[in-house]
Amino acid sequence: MRVSPSLRAPLRAAAVLSAALVLASCSSIAPDSAPPGTDDDATANLEATVTYGGVVTPSSLDPHKGVTENDLPFLRYIYDTLTTVDETGAPEPFLAESWELAEDGSTFTMTMREGATFVDGAAVDAAAVAANFERMLNDPDSTVAYVLAPIVESAEVVDELTVQLNLIGPGGALPTLLASRAGMMVSPAGLEDPESLATTPLGAGAFALNNAVPGSRYSLERRDDYWDEDAYRYKNLEYLIQVDTATRLNALQAGESTLTAVVGPQKDEAEAADLSTWQSAGASLGFTRFSMNTQRSEFEDKRVRQAMNAAVNREQIAETLYSGQCQPGAQPFPEGYFAHSDALDDAAWSTYDPDLAEELLADAGLADGFSFTAVVPSLSIYQNVAQVMQSNFAEVGITMELEVMDATQARQNFVNGSADALVGTYGGGTDPGLYATSAYSPNSGDNPGGLTTPNMAELIAGTQRSIDIADRKAAYEDLMAEVFEMGPAQIVICHAIGVHAGQPFVHDFDQSGPLGASQGMRDMWVSQ
């Protein structure tokens, strides 16, 4: 299907609704303002049932076999991770109280929290952690092996609470990687009966799964023996899957749910219905992007890629298609996050400047423009972004044909090198290295054209050598400088800004930080 180059005003509402599917699970960085209607005299109802309107059905309740980061917000209720991250993305203790990377980088040693237990009562000790690493690295169905295997060779027990990872790659990223799927620990009993984990999860999280109707409803009950008594100050959590954005808000307005993510004008609608809303002041790690195959069309030329960055009106897309709930920027990591480069002057890439774009195209010998075809997933938000970009490119003489197709097929066509470009989103993760490796290493999923530089592999490795967050930030500044000197093959459009709406009796919900609403659900309490 080909779409003619034009902007269509009615697309706006549909775009905002569709955005929930893509960006609702994204997290936020900066703290938010207090919710309206907070009653200072209210007290926490520790016996309350909180009903959350979720979007994504977990692909598996076995954390080592799930296929998407979108699972993680739900899995975090059941599975605690070895580490967690703060609002800037810096690692903090969680199941592991402390860790140390050997000076020669050959080992990474963690000391586990005393008293933490799995839902079946087993201790979260060094033996359990070592057994989990054994499984994650060696199970042929493990979906985290590709993350860990380049870094960790094996795990061994030092003493009851100390476990040592023997490394074959730079281990500096482990503290942030272990705040995600790779850090979710499964009870030894679950490891012995792995088939059962898909339906009977055995984690060290705050909640036990009582009942589940996959794809519809998950009923969880808080564990009395959970190690952090300040977390999740309510008894039950009903996690509903409500794919449609309007349905989620309807359920909230009807009093059938306590809290849910909202998009675009739904925030105003919720406030008009006397519901509380929370919008993060900063942007999330998830972003909308335009990916180019640098072996196709004219994308091999850095001047062309820069021209296309300058031709895109990010502010227009953020305001028109996301109702302002998206922060424009050219860097893949948002301001406030440790991997964002404050030192980099990216104005020549991030500023909307059609004149500069035309100059760059003329320098590249393309004064008359050129044509290419972008594959676009059939969700309306992708199509709308693509059409705005199509219009932007047309202003500087670039003809972008759109080929709308199923999302999986679009992704497949781009990865296997048969598409010029792809419009899509990136979901974000607790470690920025996953994106850096995928986007800047040759022949990786996000870089089918193989665009890289001689220094790139070393610079990526440099971001993973130290566990010190200041060292890593400096390394990412070097990496970003190299990336923009090279001219990235992905145009970052804007980073999503998370918004939630909830009942007025919800207190202290704060979706700040890379963990977004997951952290908010941990800290919040309800007075009814």
Binding site: Y146, E195, P214, V243, N250, A251, E256
Partner: protein, 314 residues
Amino acid sequence: MLIFVAKRVLAAIPVLFIVTLLAFALVYLIPGDAAVVAAGENASAERIQEVRVQMGLDRPAIVQYFAWMGNLLSGDLGTSLISGHSNSEAMINAIPVTLSLTLVALAWSLVVGSLIGIFTGLYQGSWIDRALTALTTLGLAIPSFWLALLLVVGFSLQMRIFPATGYAPLSDGVLPWLSHLILPAFALGTTTAAEIARQTRAGVVDVLENDYIRTARAKGLPPWIIVGKHTTKNAAIPVVTVFGLQAAALVGGSVIIEQVFALPGLGSLALRSILERDFPVIQAFVVVVTIFVLVINLLVDISYAYFNPKVRQS
């Protein structure tokens, strides 16, 4: 009658077999496969191929088909490629929801549609006939999802009479079960009710012009016997045909309605599995829905035989 039913059941077996074959072939016509989804968001082409091999998706299609059919014949609907859950369990969870929704939608649409059809047929040309015919036109034209949203705003958010979302199983009680189904069933069954009303009206008008009705009137039979005994039964055959077709269509329509009301039925399951390229779930869904449609068709055939003895004899 038993022989008639047995013949129809036997005729359904090759249909079911052909449908399984087509369903399997159709899955291969859908671009992309589960390996792309299962490999994760940043996977390279090599990683996707590794996952494809792990999932057995690299085997020849015919091998996969016969492996699937073998399991199917032994009652095993397979396992989800993505979640690892049993498809049988997923179907057992989803079928009661969709069946409840479809039955309630069919029930109200049959009752209301038939009554409107009989009434307008008996009083054809009157102002009430024209008004109700206009109403049925509206019923045919209005999109079910839009009607669903209007119903939610009116009856859930404003008047707070019915729940806006969710499903309560029959084990929770008849009232909770019904209260969760009324709005979605009304939205789903509106087109069916309108269609049945149209067909019933046409049938009644047609039958009323027959000689035997004139004779019945001439004999001085009371109107309720003329309508109840001689008119409705003879006008019912085209209505039954429409009813059968609409029953199958309602299963398709439930996909959208289940999304609007967050009902965990077959439609939601099918949509999710299609998006995830979860072939075993799609195939199990097709088999279950095919059996459902075949059963409906069988019931329609049996009802033909009831309404028209000539069919039985043939």
